[in-house]
Symmetry: C2
Subunit: 352 residues, 2 copies
């Protein structure tokens, strides 16, 4: 598709089966009944496979909030104006958003990646400036982003992830900010997971019934228009429907997989990016961990399509990476119980 993107995909290899076997065996000698930590044990074994070691660690969890605007907001599909996108970017940079507060609780750093906010943004130490264009085109009428723009946004996400990994991070969350992005994500879910319109379109930030009808119509028409394009490869849906932040999130997921770094999947927007990432590189799925279940109906359809099992359902629907970040302590507990618990032998505890 593109030399850099092809090289990134080529670096993705399967999990390390040997480390997984060794981690499972180690779980059996720790001071607890076999299997008593449930999914924490499964997660620890998965992390062992991801990191290629029997004693995985979580270091410097990083949330990269990918921000961009959507031309389809011209169709009246959202409860909020596009001006909220740059305002929320400023809120992230000032530390006032939910994602900032949750990051402090779970010990994560937050970066903001601008790949397509529709206004100019002032420089900031936590803002990665990689604007591809000022928002996508309106997917109802035209291709949302060209293939070159799509690849540029994917690589911007991959580069941001690579920078965090180079700083020492080995746990990534792809967060999102972009008014209109549940509309694009709904269309992407239909495209990549073959869901119905009813399964795919929800109330986003909280739209009323007439707006929901309009959103369904716009998604349906966008899919019909996009299907007229003849060329087909895994990038086609993303290019036709957008958005730039979803492309960047896709890049974060691909880079995580290529670098043997775990990536936590947040809600509906992250789920759309996961669909695209796994369409481009099916092995990328092995490096993804589903976290929460969003209220957005298409999220469950995404997870079922990808056969990813979420960890909890708190009725959240905010995005930004907030739901995924809440899972970070669970991942850390999984890694550290495997690594740090005493064994029956070391603690002189009688086994059964």
């Amino acid at each position: 598709m593109n030399a850099d993107l092809d090289a990134l995909i080529a670096r993705i290899s399967p999990l390390d089966a040997g480390s997984q076997v060794a981690a499972r065996e180690r779980q059996h000698i720790l001071t607890k009944p076999r299997g008593a930590l449930g999914r924490l044990e499964d997660i620890s074994v998965w992390l062992a496979g991801v990191q290629g070691t029997v004693l995985p660690q979580i270091r410097l969890p990083t949330v990269i909030i990918c921000a961009a605007d959507h031309g389809v907001t011209a169709e009246g599909v959202s409860a909020y104006p596009s001006a909220v996108t740059p305002a929320m970017v400023q809120n992230f940079l000032a530390g006032g958003a939910a994602m900032n507060v949750i990051a402090k609780v779970v010990g994560a750093q937050v970066k903001v990646l601008d790949v397509g906010v529709a206004t100019d943004l002032l420089p900031h130490p936590d803002l990665i400036a990689a604007k591809v264009r000022f928002g996508t085109r309106n997917m109802r009428n035209q291709t949302a982003i060209t293939r070159d723009e799509t690849i540029e946004a994917i690589l911007a996400g991959a580069n941001a992830a690579q920078t965090a990994i180079a700083q020492g991070s080995n746990l990534l969350v792809a967060g999102d900010m972009g008014i209109g992005n549940t509309t694009a994500a709904s269309a992407l879910t239909m495209w990549y997971a073959k869901t119905t319109l009813e399964q795919s379109v929800g109330r986003g930030t909280g739209i009323d019934n007439p707006t929901l009808d309009q959103k369904r119509l716009v998604v349906q028409e966008s899919i019909l228009r996009a299907n007229l394009n003849s060329f087909r490869d895994p990038l086609t849906g993303l290019s036709e429907l957008g958005g730039l932040e979803i492309a960047a999130m896709t890049g974060i997921m691909l880079q995580g997989a290529a670098s043997r770094v775990a990536v936590l999947v947040d809600g509906f927007i992250a789920g759309a990016a996961a669909l695209v990432a796994c369409a481009i590189a099916p092995l990328a799925k092995e490096y993804l961990c589903a976290t929460h279940v969003s209220v957005e109906p298409g999220h469950i359809a995404q997870l079922e399509f990808l056969q990813l099992e979420p960890l909890f359902n708190l009725g959240m629907r905010l995005g930004e990476g907030t739901g995924a970040a809440l899972a970070i302590p669970m991942l850390e507990a999984a890694a550290r119980t495997l690594s740090e618990m005493a064994t029956f032998e070391s603690a002189s505890v009688p086994d059964r």
Copy 2:
């Protein structure tokens, strides 16, 4: 029942409705769509009611692992010998158990309360020595603990909680350690939640089918024997069936409620203590937050009886407080998003 216990119960009052209303209103002006944080918002409002302030905080989360032995282990109901109870107490004090590791991840302190371990234990700074007796009597044949012993164990738990609260803690987890305690908890669940034998008895630490049959028989016979006793008040079931650690956990829950401190309910053993606490003082329920769903089948029945909605299901069945402790970051995220997020006005974010 007892002057000290009566005084403790008399101090329990309803949640502060005014703070709850104010917290819900504050949620509506924070920079997110209304309700987008889902249950985190509900938890924040609950914490406001518990603490009597619109800006609740989580300070010094404390896990008190209540440890005791069970005479009913003589009936061959467990996969592990009773010697595991004191060995695991040493493991907790040495920092090698799952609960210790998870506590480090979530920023909690761990104390161990001995109310009935069947061996002498050496002093340790984190061990609260309040042994009532060397394990319960065998509930199949006789009253497990006298009423005086029951009250003594409840008050030992309440005192341990009060000490933690005096040190600045305002979030408590009642943890458990006691080989045989799922057998006692099964009987308590039948007694207090009126469940069937099938609903109440599970595999505990992982018993085989013949042992499960034996466990069901022992629980059934214990209930039948206990029912012959004529005197009935909320302490009767706990006294007849034990155990001492479950009584202490009951005391922690009552003290939390009396001190307007939130208490997280862990799995099946903590659920049994919650049933007892709410039978003794129904208002105590308002200060309880269910966390995870245990594999033990009776746990769901307990939560349904108490009408408590858990936060997640990770297939855990370890006890010690481990599942509840994993919820601490969620509680902290709930409190801090309410307190620390920017408002639409302060961040100049356009509202809908």
